[in-house]
């Protein structure tokens, strides 16, 4: 086990680590800081792993913050925590950092290849760390006088290492599970390389060298600009959100319902207390399945948002048995059945292949979409339904047809509009939010998962 070494006082170290966490969006109170210090005194500094886990236990309160914690921890303690024993005996002189780490210096390129191969196959943490630091020594070519960031050296090392082609070679003759295993180990190797580069940079150039633009937590990424990787991250957080939404809609209805007294059962029960009805018995409440209708804009102008929307709808389909999803651009179509596919990509293909969303001009046209919805589906709505509209209300200067929305709103219990644009952009250019707002139960800016969560918590 490696040890934690830090030159300053522990309180100072912890203080600046917490500052770094706060910068990345974790809310940490003063009492949590104090508690973290107490915790560290209790567990001691002998084991790096216990050190990390203890801090995590005290400082993180939310699943979506775990990854941010790990990232910041990696960055902050990269130098103080050496994960392989070789390095534990110290990196005291800078020249050693530049040229070598332990036995890695003597390893020739051929050895490195076998080191990496072994690391990928066995997946033992120590081997992976050793392979990573040897690779950095060989390929990164860290030059302390240049002010390039860690990302550059990480990229350089990884591309020389060409893990992907190694995996391809190793995969020959293996079954899918073994390949999956290799790929997981490769991910570990890549993160170790990154950690190693950061550690060396920190050593050579100080903390500024590895400070990255504050890490965004996945619940804080704007849908409109989300990359495929962001969406992947978000998808993990979506399931609990969808469940929450289902619970919220279901529960609210149940609470509003008046409970009816079960006279027979009450009298029966009162016999046990000498004829005094101490406890009232109620008839079991009918469990309401939340009914939800979603209308989603899937046009190109909100491409990233549309992909997110489909993800959300797909996850929600599992939670609501009574969810009906409709998509539109300037045509409108129901996509409920397509979304019932378990696998997201095949559901997506179904939607793209089967739904007729494009009409005469193929630009989003909320007006004609609402009009079509009114004509085709209005009759099937129930008075107890909740309608969610997802889109930016950018109508490409077509007629807003607010009257159709009014009809819709009159038919159902509530209509909410979730707009992925900041409120300040509404009604600028071709956005026609103002035309629709009078008929909505609520219109909210939902740019990020955090805002979506807030909407579910407070507006519903």
């Amino acid at each position: 086990m490696s040890q934690v070494k830090y030159l300053g006082s522990n309180a100072e170290m912890l203080g600046s680590f917490i500052d770094e966490l706060r910068r990345s969006g974790l809310p940490i109170s003063a009492s949590e800081y104090a508690e973290a210090l107490t915790a560290l005194e209790l567990v001691g500094y002998e084991s790096a792993e216990v050190f990390r886990e203890s801090l995590k236990l005290v400082l993180v309160k939310k699943i979506s913050h775990l990854q941010t914690f790990e990232k910041v921890f990696q960055r902050f303690f990269a130098f103080h925590l050496d994960s392989s024993e070789k390095q534990a005996d110290g990196f005291s002189d800078v020249s050693g950092v530049l040229s070598a780490s332990g036995s890695g210096s003597e390893a020739s390129e051929v050895d490195l290849e076998s080191l990496v191969q072994h690391a990928l196959e066995a997946g033992v943490d120590r081997d992976i760390s050793l392979a990573a630091s040897t690779a950095v020594t060989w390929y990164a070519g860290i030059d302390p006088s240049r002010s390039v960031g860690a990302a550059y050296y990480i990229q350089k090392t990884l591309s020389s290492l060409s893990v992907a082609s190694q995996i391809e070679d190793l995969s020959e003759g293996l079954d899918v599970f073994e390949i999956h295993n290799l790929k997981n180990n490769a991910k570990k190797l890549e993160s170790k390389v990154a950690a190693d580069v950061r550690r060396r940079l920190l050593m050579l150039r100080g903390v500024e060298a590895i400070r990255e633009p504050s890490t965004n937590t996945p619940d804080n990424v704007a849908f409109l600009y989300a990359t495929a990787a962001d969406l992947q991250q978000m998808r993990k957080l979506l399931r609990p959100l969808a469940a929450k939404l289902a619970v919220k809609l279901g529960r609210r209805r149940r609470q509003q319902q008046k409970r009816t007294l079960d006279v027979r059962a009450t009298i029966h029960q009162s016999l046990r207390t000498g004829g005094v009805p101490v406890k009232l018995r109620h008839k079991p409440r009918l469990k309401h399945k939340p009914e939800l209708i979603v209308l989603a804009d899937l046009s190109g102008s909100v491409a990233s948002f549309a992909r997110f929307t489909l993800n959300l709808l797909h996850v929600m389909q599992g939670q609501f048995s009574t969810l009906r999803s409709f998509a539109f651009v300037d045509e409108m179509d129901e996509i409920t059945e397509s979304l019932k596919r378990d696998d997201f990509s095949s559901a997506m293909n179904q939607v793209v292949g089967n739904a007729k969303l494009l009409g005469a001009h193929g630009h989003s046209d909320y007006g004609s979409a609402f009009k079509l919805f009114e004509a085709r589906f209005l009759e099937s709505l129930k008075a107890s339904s909740t309608v969610l509209i997802l889109g930016d209300a950018r109508n490409n200067y077509h007629h807003p047809e607010a009257e159709s929305l009014k009809q819709l709103a009159g038919k159902v219990k509530s209509v909410y509009w979730l707009n992925p644009e900041p409120t300040s952009y509404w009604d600028t250019g071709d956005s026609v939010m103002a035309d629709y707002i009078p008929y909505l139960t609520g219109a909210v800016e939902v740019r990020t998962l955090k805002q979506l969560e807030r909407f579910i918590d407070h507006n519903l």
Binding site: E53, V60, K62, G123, L174, V176, P240
Partner: protein, 290 residues
């Protein structure tokens, strides 16, 4: 137990193989006197952890299963109306006592029905209180727990405040179907329990199914890791389901897995027909041994 390592050994000795994280959580919970909130997907050993903690401390495990609609009278305490009424009627017949004496009598501990939270607080032996699936409570009911969690006391208007005789170890579990309130989270250590690492899962299998061959166990773990991450499942295989499969294989004396056997094992691992179908479909399209 004075170090996390010792906690780990103790947990191990009662049949629960902990990760560093789990050992650290149990250790800190004891030292800091704070509850542990364990969050994570179903089937990662959350409830099992509480049982193991109870076993190492040789403590009584008191369990409060949460559900929507749980109220004070089910969680904290309730007055025993029946007994109270009988007492009143008996007193009327005897006609000896004044109303105040009756009242003070019937609102005494004799007529108090303990529910799990109060029971845990008043237990004079060491106690582990498991509050299972907190996320199923309504937000308002969550507040019921706060007094118990931070001050280890329960207020009963007619009697006064009941302090814990001996502070119980509290473990809360949540499947994360909703975000718990800040107030609750602040009072707890937060432990995220995901699926175990490959090594840990292999060790768990080896522990629970002693006569399984190491190679087969590794293969199982690989397959399950693949299912959990590469196929979009409604419910991913839990640890106990993997153990069930391992046991089945040992009983059937299967030493090596081929495509057909993996498919046969799917109903043990997966609990939804849809999940089984999509896993089968995906496994048919990839290169599987045999």
């Amino acid at each position: 137990m004075s170090t996390p390592q010792e906690v780990a050994q103790a947990l191990d000795s009662v049949g629960y193989l902990p990760s560093t994280e789990i050992a650290a959580a149990v250790f800190l919970a004891q030292k800091l006197g704070k509850p542990i909130l364990v969050e994570g997907p179903a089937g990662t050993g959350k409830t099992e952890l509480a049982k193991a903690v109870a076993r190492i401390a040789n403590a009584e495990l008191i369990r409060l299963q949460c559900y929507e609609g749980l109220d004070e009278s089910r969680a904290l305490y309730e007055w025993d109306y029946q007994k109270q009424l009988l007492a009143i009627q008996a007193a009327k017949l005897a006609d000896a006592q004044s109303e105040e004496t009756i009242e003070s009598q019937i609102f005494s501990e004799k007529y108090l029905l303990e529910r799990p939270l109060l029971q845990a607080i008043r237990n004079s032996d060491s106690t582990v209180l498991l509050i299972d699936e907190v996320d199923r409570l309504e937000v308002e009911t969550e507040a019921l727990l706060l007094e118990v969690l931070s001050d280890f006391q329960v207020s009963i208007p007619e009697i006064g405040t009941v302090q814990a005789i001996r502070q119980p170890t509290v473990i809360l579990t949540s499947n994360n179907t909703r975000e718990l309130s800040e107030a609750l989270k602040r009072r707890c250590l937060f432990l995220y329990l995901g699926y175990p690492s490959k090594d840990r899962e292999r060790d768990i299998i080896a522990r629970k199914v002693p006569n399984i061959e190491e190679q087969l166990a590794s293969k199982l773990v690989e397959i399950v890791a693949y299912l959990r991450s590469e196929i979009d499942l409604k419910k991913a295989p839990s640890i106990s389901e993997v153990i069930d499969w391992a046991q089945a294989l040992v009983v059937l004396n299967i030493k090596e897995l081929d495509q057909a056997q993996i498919k046969q094992g799917l109903p043990i691992l997966l609990k939804y027909v849809d999940d089984i179908e999509s896993a089968k479909a995906q496994l048919s399209s990839v290169n599987v041994p045999g």
